[in-house]
């Protein structure tokens, strides 16, 4: 074979395979950015992809899928990651919570929303963890839409999608952004849990990012509701530091009503070990219960307002 022919074959083969890959990406459109995502149900079964977990997925979904299919968002870290937003009636709320997520990371997700996105409600979880640091995990700060056109993550997602369609694999994330934690257990009353010395520290950058993301959501029309996630009292019985931290965080954010799941009225829930997988995370059963309670509280809170569902 001469060099000219070799070049022709090689370059045409590359072009053809890139073309096939683009067609496949368009057809599967796992991130809902190539075709109209209205009415589609996009979820992922990939938890640990090479460089990321749920971050890439939610980053991409916020560009078209979330604003097309939802009228509310739930902002938080893993403590609200498995709350089932489908149980909140009258709204279509997308759960933006990230495992180990900070306010800075949540802000990047929210920044992906198009100018035209409109929300009725934004539920913002207030935990000390979410404002304790501002580092971006797994390359979240460098993501581009190119991920959708054939990347390690998109191939992982495409494989997961095909396997899920063939019922070989169950999704770990649901179309509303909520998730199930793999191998979650139930906490024991005598379990011990260290929060670390810096757990209650407030990172100024993370705090500023949280403020900024709330203003962005308000600009998209969302009514802001704050929520303090439940805490398993037999382990973290003394809530003084949590209360103090909550107060400090709230004073630095735009005003809004607070549903505090650490209030005494939730003591029964917060002392029932069957609701928790550890001191700060509810398990599937607890997540279902807390989502229902949140539904009731929201309706009470918004019952008389224009946001009434």
């Amino acid at each position: 074979m001469n060099s000219r022919r070799w070049l022709l074959i090689t370059l045409l083969s590359i072009a053809a395979l890139v073309g096939v890959n683009l067609l496949l990406s368009y057809e599967l459109d796992v991130y809902g950015i190539m075709r109209d995502p209205r009415g589609r149900k996009l979820a992922t079964s990939s938890f640990y992809l090479p460089m990321t977990d749920d971050r890439v997925f939610k980053y991409m979904l916020n560009q078209r899928y979330v604003p097309s299919n939802f009228d509310g968002v739930l902002i938080g870290s893993s403590s609200s990651g498995n709350w089932d937003t489908d149980l909140i009636h009258g709204f279509h709320i997308y759960n933006e919570s990230l495992v180990g997520g900070s306010a800075s990371e949540e802000k990047i997700l929210v920044d992906q929303l198009p100018q035209t996105a409109h929300f009725r409600i934004a539920i913002c979880a207030l935990s000390p963890f979410i404002v304790s640091k501002h580092d971006l995990k797994h390359g979240l700060g460098q993501l581009t839409r190119r991920e959708a056109f054939g990347s390690l993550n998109s191939f992982g997602e495409e494989t997961a999608k095909v396997l899920a369609d063939l019922r070989h694999q169950q999704n770990t994330f649901f179309p509303n952004g909520s998730r199930v934690f793999p191998n979650e257990g139930t906490i024991k009353r005598d379990d011990h849990e260290e929060l670390g010395t810096h757990y209650f520290d407030i990172d100024m950058q993370a705090m500023a990012d949280y403020r900024s993301l709330i203003r962005t959501l308000q600009a998209h029309g969302a009514e802001i509701i704050y929520v303090a996630p439940p805490i398993y009292l037999p382990i973290h019985g003394d809530l003084t530091q949590f209360d103090r931290s909550l107060e400090r965080i709230q004073t630095q954010l735009p005003p809004g009503p607070l549903i505090n799941f650490t209030d005494p009225e939730y003591t029964a829930f917060n002392t029932d070990s069957s609701n928790f997988s550890d001191g700060l995370h509810v398990n599937s059963q607890g997540a279902t219960k807390i989502s229902k309670i949140l539904n009731e509280k929201l309706h009470l809170l918004l019952g008389g307002s224009e946001f009434s569902p």
């Binding site: 090689t10 083969s13 797994h138 979240l140």
Partner: protein
């Protein structure tokens, strides 16, 4: 515009290759090569400007000044010729010092600075270390009458040639200038050069975006997230960086050489499987070869000539001095100085060992000692401070926790190693220690279907990694 970026691969490079080739054909035998060269010059200036337009005047100024001095050297004799060379060297070294080293030295000796004196905040022009060395070599070669002073057009094209202007390989004028007639494709060999260029480009791209960036993930984890490293982990993370820098820089070089080949120009090789070396001398004959050549010809030899006799001691001192300067050339930091000094001492020791025929080590042991030495030197190279380097080197010795793998386990749990990245790491280890160098592969290239399939596979895998969020900038761009 990075060599591994979409604008470079899909727009800039193909456009320049097609344009030069077309212009060469259209303009005919006589004017064709010059017209193609003009396109390359414009493309090079555009490429350089793409980074930071504000840096272009520095490059143009350096080209003009050095071209003028070379003309003057060419036209003069005797002492005036020498004075002109000295002027040229002072201007070039001064230029480099102003941007790279003034703050470093003043900052290192703060007691010498008056209390209210503010250090100038110069951002050094991109590629200054590389193109200044190129200019110095050009002036010395003109002075030594190894080549005549070239025209401004040729000189500007040679210095600003986009494949090497930012990060090398450091090209010697006499290797490039005689090829200026080949821009747009060497007559009769256009397709061969282009095919070989495409082949080498796919190898370089794969080395950079797949292998080097996979090692970068591991090395970055070791540097940024790991705590209380065990001895085993300290070796794993440091070797990951040593492999990262090799694949990063040699991948970059492959992309540079391949880009030039596609335009019909052969630029010097820079790497030849350095981690297979069995001595430090051999390592420097295989690692950053163009820099080694510069150090040998333009630093070591002049220093050695300053001694009354070329004894082994004189050679050792000259080696240490030359390598220390070469270390400092990498950047304004004491860690780079130490890196150079360490290699200088290693080379001097190696020279003495060889000359005195002290003891011939078994090949495997020679390789192990050499690689360990290189690995430790790269820890210094990579560290922010000498104290940081000392602490990281200390971890390599089995003083406390030897076999702990807590950090490696944590890294695996974060999904960094599993799935797709494990294979590139494995390929990287095999290629670095057992595989052929890109230079060998490129030399042996034949337009076969197997090679075509290899190029397609490497390019597609590279494409996938380029789309993924794991890219790191070229390590040598910092210099």
């Amino acid at each position: 515009m990075l060599f591994n970026s979409f604008p470079y691969i899909f727009c800039f490079l193909p456009l320049v290759v097609v344009l030069t080739s077309l212009v060469r054909k259209i303009a005919g035998l006589k004017a064709g090569p010059r017209a193609a060269q003009a396109i390359v010059l414009l493309a090079s200036l555009f490429f350089y400007t793409w980074w930071k337009p504000i840096h272009l005047p520095y490059l143009l100024g350096s080209i003009l000044v050095n071209w003028f001095i070379a003309r003057c050297i060419d036209a003069s004799t005797g002492r005036r010729r020498k004075r002109l060379l000295q002027l040229g060297l002072v201007l070039n070294i001064g230029f480099l010092c102003v941007f790279k080293y003034v703050n470093f030295f003043l900052g290192s000796f703060p007691h010498l600075i008056p209390p209210r004196f503010l250090l100038p905040d110069f951002e050094f022009p991109l590629g200054i270390s590389f193109f200044t060395i190129t200019q110095i070599m050009y002036l010395v070669d003109c002075y030594e009458s190894l080549l005549p002073a070239s025209t401004l057009f040729d000189h500007a094209t040679f210095v600003s040639f986009f494949p090497y202007v930012i990060s090398g390989p450091i090209a010697r004028a006499k290797r490039i200038l005689h090829q200026t007639g080949d821009f747009g494709g060497k007559d009769g060999q256009r397709s061969e050069f282009l095919a070989r260029g495409v082949y080498l480009f796919s190898i370089g791209l794969f080395k950079k975006v797949v292998i080097a960036d996979a090692f970068a993930q591991v090395a970055a984890y070791g540097l940024n997230s790991a705590v209380d490293l065990s001895t085993v982990e300290a070796w794993v993370f440091s070797i990951a960086y040593t492999l990262q820098i090799y694949f990063d820089f040699s991948g970059y070089t492959d992309l540079a050489i391949a880009s030039a080949l596609m335009l019909g120009i052969e630029i010097p090789r820079n790497f030849d499987a350095p981690y297979r070396s069995k001595s430090i001398i051999e390592f420097w004959q295989r690692w950053h070869i163009s820099l080694t050549n510069f150090i040998t010809t333009y630093l070591y030899t002049p220093i050695l000539r300053m001694f009354p006799r070329a004894t082994l001691t004189a050679a050792s001192i000259a080696t240490i001095l030359a390598m220390t300067v070469a270390g400092l050339w990498h950047g304004p930091s004491w860690t780079f100085v130490c890196y150079g000094l360490m290699h200088g001492i290693g080379l001097a020791f190696n020279q003495v060992w060889k000359k005195k025929k002290i003891w011939k080590l078994p090949a495997a042991l020679s390789w192990f000692v050499t690689f360990s030495f290189v690995n430790i030197a790269f820890i210094i190279f990579h560290s922010r401070t000498l104290a940081d380097a000392a602490s990281r080197i200390g971890r390599l010795f089995p003083l406390h926790n030897i076999f702990g793998i807590a950090n490696l386990t944590a890294m695996s749990e974060r999904g960094i190693i599993f799935h797709f990245v494990a294979l590139p790491l494995l390929i990287g280890v095999v290629v670095a220690f057992l595989g052929k160098s890109s230079e060998e592969l490129s030399r042996e290239f034949k337009p076969t279907l197997a090679n075509s399939a290899a190029v397609v596979a490497l390019t597609l895998i590279a494409w996938i990694f380029m789309n993924s969020t794991m890219g790191t900038p070229f390590v040598y761009f910092a210099f």
